[in-house]
Symmetry: D2
Subunit: 387 residues, 4 copies
């Protein structure tokens, strides 16, 4: 039986649930994982809620103070699944305590914080990994493999969107994600960070950007004014939306490729459309998270009568990364499996003493691009990221 | 400039319009056609209507009696675009007058008529061709080319449907297509004939069938009871529907393949879904008339990581039949272009003295299968076509 | 905290892994489940393998004799995830011991066995449920909800295929699934059972069928002749394939609808295409397991300019069954989640003393239809199921 | 019978063929057209070629000097289907001669030329229309109708690409389209003009842009160095590509919407992907020219369980513009039909004395945006169009 590592998780809502599932599932599907996680404690400020989460998600104990959590001797890995404004403090404290850190994306709310976080894991010689989970969709790995092996040739174009529509109702309340203090930014950090990270992994470094941000609905009812739900009474107290509803930018890559990026929460009918297309001199690929088990692939295979994009069902354990752990070909996996894949690689990385990509360095570089887009939107000029 | 041939067309409605367009367009897009058609006369019983059709569709003259038409000296080709109950009489008379015959599908309303028609063209040594126009969709030709060249391997499965929904309203009136005397059968002859012909062209001869037919709405308002449109007043005179609304059958092919066939006018939301899939030992193809410029193609090309159906946009003049006549790759053609292709092949066939497929022999064989399906639906047993 | 029930699972391969996952996950995602499963023991004849499976999948203990398992006092539910030839013996013994039974599909290898199994659970007043897991795809539940609420109107057509391609290589060896003694039948029982069950759930009872079965590759290398894999040396020992490679049949339903069914393992490029279409007087739906988070829906909503099939991403917890347990809208679930859903309903059924559908009665009726198809393929006539 | 107008066409290649077809077909399908075109003369400098074109495409005569053509008394309409560097001279001369003008897109190679052309048609009180033919795809008209009637609500996003791949081979020669003198620009004017025009029609006026242009392959073999085809011998004479291979830009619209635009000839596998998506507060639409008979439509129709994009087959003569002229629902039209629609509207406009949109004013505004994108690509700043 393999060795184990104690895990402490901060956050118990959407991300906490998804991360918990990853720890619970990893060894059942990847029995060769180098370290088996022991789910020691989950942490949150609301004791009633976090106690229930511990019971439901399979944690041995719970904590209500992350400072106690990061100091526990039985824990070797701290998982930071909180809103962005606490990533830096928790991650740095964890690293200072010699814990490995698995941090939700984006790494931080500011570029300065991200630098400090990278410095903390490097100084303390712990593993740091950012959970850009879409890197570990098997179809995305297939795209990477086609690029890395040269089967797409020289890359000319990157074209990505991340489209959602969950705040289009003007009565949707002023939640923390719509306030700059807590969220850092709106769609840019939440959705833009994902597609920037994919672009960096698949195409390469970005050298300059020009962009715009837009807030379509500038004032919304405060949470207090809404009775827990979406409905705001007439005359409800209103507050200012301080983040972007949409962000669009163009980019140049170091390798000569050019790219478009667009993120929005105002694309009616698009629940979770994280989609990209890459065009190279020998082929192209297309991906859409809503059909995440598929990759559309065009290869210049010298049969002009049947040239066309193939719809590849990326479920073949003999040919596709991570899939041999799951089911026979043709049996699709779900969204949360990307977390299990990430945790598998993370645990192997910890065992080997290596930070798996996306590292905190990757997180910092993503942050620098987010920062450049914001500066460009302000200056109305092309801007270079400050790596 | 090439030689010419005078054409006389019987029928001026839906099919008459489509055939007229083919004669008008063929030499503009296929300047190498061996005989240029001269649109001599269009024929119909309603003089006012046929005169207007002649003017609109570009015919020099009109006739109101097909017997006069088939006897004209300036006409070398008779085009029979009438309902099925007149195909035999017109085609046989045309052949007896030494005219070549282009007949709408299905060839006849009965197997006996079809035999007489084949006999007439053979005896009079004229060209006879049936307008199963879907043979000449470029994507269908691509499927044929993949099969004929062995790229799909041994064929195991044929799976075809032709789904429509235009008579689902119970108040839709008792038009001629719903009466056995005029139409011969319902969906079976109208839609089933098309997919039987495609199956024969692509897979081969059918040796036995088992099937059923069904009439979902058994009585409908008479045409007289409806004021020209769909609306039937309460208490309107009703008449019996004497043809099938749907027909389903299974078939065995001479080469060992097995097939399913289904046709219906009761598939809500399916305007014109003439669709098939063929599975062979080395590959598969899928076609749908509603996206007739595409063929989905799966080839066993030994790259398991990118195995998948390709969506081939069949518009490449360098690789796809008939397309060099039209537009650059990526510019799609329309439904009526299949008639132009058929007329192009017909005129070349006449010049060469050869009946192009689908010949009247093909029409007869299709009729024999329609007949076998009807007998099977009655006897509730497997039945062999009487070729 | 809810009450618990001890579970014993027979079988530890593909199905054993999927069922184990269901028991491990159910309470983490459905904390309201009426009985929490305690994973007592997994059972298999190969001690080394079953010990490893117990460790990997999270079972407390293992057994090598199912007779011991079904007699254990700490177990209230026996899960039968073995090949079909042992379903009857294990299920009946479990019921005789007062255990509830969750049995893989098809219920049995013969109609007679199925009758005995139904009798056993009824006589012993235990819950019996068959794992036709595709009933619990949320998109399939949406189809059912549209039908049950009348939004599709009167159902006219059922059209289903289950297409795979994993035995097309003639060198693929003679595994147990290709031998009638163990498997009962080939595609008919393996794949046909699934689409028959869906048809019964969605459209209703089947009154008669006509069909054919076909074995394309009649002799294959024995397992002994292949060195564990696919490769058979020249001159390898060959054995006879005694089951069908494909089965096709037509059916009439009690409510007047007609249906086509086709199952095959010779559809090149189709990994796991379990797909159906239903046409009713007011609407239609289409489903394909390879995109199991989607349902295509056509509703007659009186806006003719925008009539068309909607691609519904069935991931909305506020509108779609089972989804509130998982993730926000737009985050898809995987194939194995259907087992978790089934186990959730099963455990609630046990708590309530009710066998959830598909019950053993449903399993028996499916078996009767499989039996009728086989008889029809032999007699070449329409045959009625012997319910 | 309606009145007639004599037509003279300059240009006989790709566009000349498509325009000729429009004149030949318009009255056969739109018998209510207010003026029937008489195809007087086609004009080109190569007498042999233009004579053949006249014969093939159905023109009464040919000319080799456009100055003679625009002066003919029997001609009332001049159609300018030449490369962009001659649009201004021919159009202005035609207008000065009192002829109506139908000019290919983009209107001119420079903003100054476009202004002169607009001035000429206004001063001479003739009809001027630019052939942005994609306005007259029925699916595009459906999008417009949904927007104009408010069914999409407030428009937030425009997202368009026009992707091709026909010059990706580095040995593809230096044709006129790759030289700034003749073509004005590369993809920007050729493809960008189309999607700018669609954006203006569908969303509204553009107020500012930021963009980039890129030339991936900067030197190519001269036409002289290639033997008529693609192959360039080693050591072939090379010339500089003086236009863009790709152009990307962001835009703000006067109504508050934001947009992305991308055009390229380096998107491997994309033959003719002119595609857009529009997101409004109540709905969204998606279009792709390669499936030009379809529009994907999402409407917020308050049935959350079936929310999803509908694939509308835009072929219903009772509900969709231009379609009643063609075939029954479900029978698709081809690319060239957009020209027939444009000519139908043009001829009706001439009869009514009104320039149909897109007018020369529309052409000028498009030109101003192209000009702004080029200036922005140079200055690396946001730029306003100089209308």
């Amino acid at each position: 039986m393999s060795n184990t590592i104690g895990v402490g998780l901060v956050g118990y809502k959407f991300m906490g649930k998804a991360h918990s599932n990853g720890y619970r599932q990893v060894a059942a599907f990847f029995p060769d994982v180098a370290l088996r996680p022991v789910m020691k404690a989950i942490c949150g400020r609301d004791e009633t809620a976090v106690r229930a989460a511990a019971a439901q998600f399979g944690w041995e104990e719970y904590e209500t103070d992350w400072k106690k959590l990061v100091a526990r001797d039985d824990i070797g890995l701290i998982d930071v699944s909180t809103p962005g404004d606490t990533h830096a403090a928790i991650s740095i404290a964890a690293a200072e305590n010699g814990k490995h850190v698995f941090c939700e994306k984006p790494l931080a709310n500011t570029l300065a914080e991200a630098r400090q976080m990278l410095d903390a894991v490097q100084r303390n010689k712990v593993v740091g990994m950012v959970n850009f989970n879409y890197r570990r969709v098997p179809a995305v790995q297939l795209a990477k493999s086609l690029i890395d092996s040269g089967r797409l040739g020289t890359i000319y174009h990157w074209r990505a969107v991340y489209l959602q529509d969950w705040i289009m109702d003007p009565n949707f309340p002023l939640v923390w994600r719509l306030q700059k203090d807590a969220a850092g930014s709106g769609t840019l950090g939440d959705l833009g960070a994902h597609i920037i990270d994919l672009a960096r992994m698949l195409v390469g470094e970005i050298t300059e950007v020009t962009g715009l941000t837009e807030t379509f609905i500038k004032r919304r009812p405060t949470l207090a004014a809404t009775t827990g739900g979406l409905g705001a009474a007439a005359g409800a107290e209103m507050g200012e939306v301080t983040v972007d509803d949409a962000a669009l930018f163009l980019a140049r890559f170091a390798n000569g490729a050019v790219g478009t990026f667009e993120v929005t929460r105002f694309a009616k009918g698009r629940a979770n459309c994280n989609s990209f297309e890459i065009n190279g001199s020998k082929g192209s690929v297309r991906f859409n998270l809503e059909r995440m088990n598929e990759l559309e692939v065009l290869l210049d295979d010298e049969m002009p009568d049947v040239a066309g994009f193939r719809t590849v069902l990326v479920t073949n354990g003999n040919a596709h990364k991570y899939l041999s752990a799951w089911w026979p070909a043709g049996h699709i996996i779900g969204w949360e499996h990307t977390f299990t894949h990430g945790i598998y690689d993370l645990l192997n990385g910890i065992a080997a003493g290596v930070s798996p990509a996306p590292t905190f360095e990757d997180g910092l570089r993503c942050q620098a691009i987010l920062d450049a887009v914001e500066r460009s939107a302000g200056s109305k000029q092309w801007v270079e990221p400050e790596y």
